[in-house]
């Protein structure tokens, strides 16, 4: 027993980690590795979103704000001052945290759909700011990241495997934070706020403070993904960095996978990203929009039949298989 995890689970985790670490050595197709990197990155964004949107049910559709701030902070530091994106990544996280304070202060006054709309507005407003101010952020045309060849200290790799490991590390960090939180008083408080804020307040939960704190953590993590993505695609502009799609994707993978669960966002991303990437490569050019249609169909199916997401289905199967065992423990 370590951190309250049984030996069997440790072995499973170790085996899983070994497979994931060995994967780029076996898979050489650049297309496949690209899909893997996207899965890892969007899983990570989903995990970051899930902390607040899943556990505390504060449905933000504005996480692109933090993705973009992370991306821009590290890029500005790198291009204007030659500072490594590794440092820029953390700096971006801090900028995102600072930004989440006033944004949260404004948005958390609203509940339910009004909160969601307010978060969309803040992300869009930030995008407009970066579009307007050409002096410090290259305006609408954006900029490319100077290609330094193989420079791991500047988060640039010749082989895609390098990016794969960075994304894997980020996801592991996000999952570890979620796991720790889920097992502590914080996890209980978040779920309580998500279930009934008044009832939570009545038993001593300082709901505004807890929501602020989890928003800080969630924004920080989302910003890390922003830096990573910019380094990965060597390009930044407001439309990519603050893309509404990032906000949607963060929420979607969690909802499809199962909100408020540790592995939900990961499972959701695997399903959605794989489907979308495969459909795009098979049909993308011949039938425009098919990929989006299938995407929406999956989403509708989940919301209609399994509001608890894929994790809900899997837990059910697991319990059916091991019913006798789970009764005993």
């Amino acid at each position: 027993m370590m951190f309250g995890i049984s030996t069997r689970v440790w072995l499973l985790l170790a085996a899983g980690a070994a497979v994931l670490i060995a994967l780029p050595l076996v898979v050489t197709s650049s297309f496949a590795i690209d899909i893997c990197i996207r899965i890892l990155m969007f899983s990570f964004i989903g995990v970051a979103w899930n902390l607040m949107g899943g556990y505390a049910k504060q449905l933000s559709l504005g996480h692109a704000a933090y993705f973009g701030l992370g991306a821009y902070t590290s890029t500005i530091m790198q291009i204007n001052y030659g500072i490594s994106p590794w440092i820029g990544m953390v700096a971006g996280g801090v900028v995102a945290m600072l930004a989440s304070l006033p944004i949260g202060w404004l948005c958390f006054r609203l509940r339910g759909p009004y909160f969601t709309i307010a978060t969309i507005a803040t992300a869009q407003a930030l995008m407009l700011i970066f579009l307007k101010f050409r002096d410090f952020a290259w305006g609408a045309e954006g900029t490319t990241i100077p290609n330094l060849g193989n420079a791991p200290l500047m988060m640039q790799f010749e082989e895609k495997a390098g990016y794969y490991y960075v994304a894997l590390g980020l996801l592991a960090l996000g999952l570890a934070i979620t796991y720790q939180m889920e097992k502590s008083w914080m996890g209980y408080y978040l779920v309580a706020i998500g279930e009934d804020e008044d009832a939570a307040e009545a038993i001593g939960v300082n709901a505004p403070r807890i929501k602020r704190d989890i928003y800080l953590i969630s924004s920080f993590l989302t910003a890390l993904a922003g830096t990573f993505y910019t380094q990965y695609i060597y390009f930044i502009d407001p439309a990519t960095a603050f893309s509404f799609n990032i906000s949607i994707e963060a929420a979607l993978v969690s909802i499809v996978g199962g909100i408020g669960t540790l592995w939900g966002p990961v499972i959701g991303t695997i399903l959605l990203e794989t489907t979308s990437a495969l459909l795009q490569s098979w049909l993308g050019s011949s039938l425009g929009g098919v990929q989006l249609t299938v995407y929406s169909l999956i989403l509708m199916a989940v919301i209609l039949w399994r509001p608890t997401g894929l994790m809900g289905i899997m837990t059910e199967w697991y319990q059916r298989l091991f019913r006798r065992r789970s009764v005993q423990t």
């Binding site: 008083w185 408080y189 309580a192 009934d196 009832a199 009545a202």
Partner: protein, 248 residues
């Protein structure tokens, strides 16, 4: 004996409606006081004012020697006042145990300590058999038990119970009355809002009667039953159905 809760000239308006007007009463330590009155008399509003969910327009509320007007609900709870809601608000997705643990975290952030505290109060309210049941699957009386257990887990000195007997059948009411008696024996100060007269007479030594936001009477159960003002405003309405008495 010392006063646990002293309310002086507490008032609250909602637009043109005077929900609570200059209400004053006090509760001694260890005493059980009932707050009664027809619908819309201002009982639940009084609870919301005391527990910080609404801020009184004027007046003072002192709990355990400290002014609590202006504190947010979680601060009021930390001061040692816990409440239940008229409509039970369980955290449906959580188990009974997790619900109660959430309350216990107020005094100690350790999961193990909270689990122990939770199992103690869950046993006290008689829910041990359903410790691992999701709260949304509980029956009405069990939801009320859960509300009480969750409030008790915060280790309050004053417990405010808002219509915990509504919707219960006669035998369940007896169980609830017994439970409140047990709480009182433990030394808890209890303020209870209730419609079930049989239950009030059984648990409360002292009764405060509200009508249209004002206190119209106060005294022991016998005095209250014989008070003509009360009979007219409240008890009378049960026998002579006066349309004007409902609503507001």
């Amino acid at each position: 004996m010392e006063d646990a809760l002293v309310i002086q000239k507490m008032s609250k308006r909602f637009g043109g409606l005077r929900a609570v007007q200059d209400v004053s009463f006090s509760v001694k330590k260890g005493e059980t006081v009932a707050l009664i009155g027809p619908n819309g008399a201002g009982k639940t509003t009084s609870f919301n004012l005391i527990t910080g969910f609404h801020r009184p327009d004027s007046g003072s509320i002192r709990a355990l020697g400290r002014e609590i007007v202006g504190l947010r609900p979680h601060d009021v709870c930390a001061q040692g006042l816990a409440r239940t809601f008229q409509v039970a608000k369980p955290f449906g997705a959580m188990t009974v145990q997790a619900n109660v643990m959430t309350g216990a975290f107020l005094r100690n952030k350790s999961v193990d300590v909270a689990r122990e505290k939770a199992s103690e109060v869950i046993e006290f309210v008689g829910l041990s058999a359903k410790e691992q049941t999701p709260a949304r699957d509980l029956t009405t009386i069990d939801q009320r038990r859960l509300e009480m257990a969750r409030a008790l887990a915060t280790q309050p000195q004053i417990l405010l119970l808002d219509e915990v007997m509504a919707g219960l059948n006669p035998s369940e009411i007896d169980q609830a009355v017994a439970l409140i008696g047990k709480l009182s024996e433990r030394g808890l100060t209890i303020v209870i809002v209730e419609h079930v007269m049989r239950a009030i007479m059984a648990v409360a030594r002292h009764i405060v009667v509200l009508d249209h936001g004002q206190k119209i009477a106060e005294g022991n159960p016998r005095e209250i039953v014989e008070n003509p003002e009360v009979v007219r405003a409240y008890l009378g309405s049960a026998h002579v159905a006066t349309p004007g008495e409902t609503g507001a």
